[in-house]
Symmetry: C2
Subunit: 233 residues, 2 copies
DNA sequence: CAAGCCCATTGATACGACGTATTCAAGACC
DNA sequence: GGTCTTGAATACGTCGTATCAATGGGCTTG
């Protein structure tokens, strides 16, 4: 994982979090703090801090006399970036990717429509720059550099929408795009049609064509979902 | 507030959380655990548990030799239900309501489109039931009962979409609808056009007309946004 | 057999001590 | 004079123990 030396409590979280979100503990399973303290060779204080965080993510509840109870998946705070990362690293990664892609398909077109009305000149320039960067890196095994531009492009759209809820999904989109590149089509050059769409989106935003920007991004997300359907049954 | 007797740590959270999200502490402000322990008249252990939760919400970071630093608003986990509740109860409630309504306008139509393809017969029945309930309570100062049906209707749509990310927004929508009723139009009967739209959505889902369901819900959310523009400048 | 009381269990809180990373500044060296 | 090193102060991090409180199950009793 990534977090290791940030304190003992982080280490406990990085073990329990993925385990719970991976479904290793069935809903209703009770964990006792003493037992956890012994298992991780830390004090109960550390365990309690970790449990409090898991509780705030609604992965568990802590009740007196009962113990720390694992909650069913419907209760989880699935928008918590930490939870998203844990689940993407775990077993039901495919379902998670699918859920997030559907979410993208709902959010990003609307965000693009808003961005076309609200983007600053600097943000328009940024969009164009990254769209052109995608074009430049779209051929000949430069997927890593392509990905950087792709992520930056979508991040800019979301930020330019002027809506903080949209803006905060930038990390999620980055995670989805990264995951797609890493797993599914590492050796395939990106779809040229998608690249072209990005360029046209940048242009639509620049000329403040809200409906066209929205429609174009909708095409992009539809393509992304179709791609997912082909690659992951 | 609501949480009081759930432990001392909850009391600390219910004071610090709203204070931070309300902007009472500028980003960069440092709080010391000893100072907080004295202020709340609890032990440092309790403070540390609360701080850990605030840290997982990205409201603060805790660094050695520095203290507990308040993070800028862009870092906050704005999808955390707790954070949403705190902000809705605080000063920038109007902006928060606007952000969430925009979010709804992106999510719900797509969710309705999916629901039309995936809803179970039971869910279809539920939709119809609540739509009719809205009709029955739409006149004559029955806003409280109307609200119950309205919330249940949108919750069902989100759940029937089959997407867990959508389903988890049910609480947010409930909060928005409740807030709107409580603050803005407590004494005005609901817009009859909106009521009719809900009935038609239920029907569209029942006959599996995906595009019509999506379009109708889009009309509903557009109406909600227009209403917000009129009532809260 | 049922209803209510008692107690063991387990988390919740507190407190004091020590560990440790981090920062800031003083001082030495180039 | 400027830069690097080093050390001390500081505030969070961790730990162990003690005590409190709530809860669920078992026991008692009518």
């Amino acid at each position: 994982m990534e977090n290791q030396g940030q304190g003992l409590h982080a280490r406990v979280l990085d073990t329990l979090g993925p385990a719970i979100t991976a479904g290793e503990y069935a809903a209703g399973t009770v964990l006792r703090t003493d037992e956890l303290a012994e298992r991780f060779d830390v004090s109960r204080t550390v365990i309690r801090e970790a449990v409090r965080v898991l509780e705030s993510m609604r992965l568990v509840t802590s009740r007196r006399r009962v113990g720390v109870t694992v909650l069913p998946a419907e209760e989880w705070n699935v928008y918590d970036p930490q939870v998203i990362r844990w689940r993407l690293a775990g077993a039901d990664r495919p379902r998670q990717l699918r859920s997030l892609t559907v979410l993208r398909s709902a959010i990003e077109p609307v965000a693009a429509g808003l961005a076309a009305r609200l983007a600053t000149p600097a943000q328009c320039a940024e969009l164009t720059e990254h769209a052109l960067g995608m074009v430049a890196t779209s051929r000949g095994q430069q997927l890593a550099r392509y990905l950087v531009h792709d992520i930056a492009f979508h991040r800019t759209i979301l930020r330019a929408s002027g809506n903080e809820m949209f803006a905060r999904l930038g990390d999620v989109v980055a995670e989805v795009l990264t995951g797609r590149t890493e797993h599914d089509l590492m050796f395939t050059d990106p779809d040229p049609a998608a690249v072209t769409l990005h360029v046209r989106v940048a242009e639509a935003v620049r000329v403040r064509d809200s409906v066209r920007a929205e429609a174009l991004v909708r095409e992009i997300t539809v393509g992304a979902m179709a791609e997912l359907d082909v690659l992951a049954p």
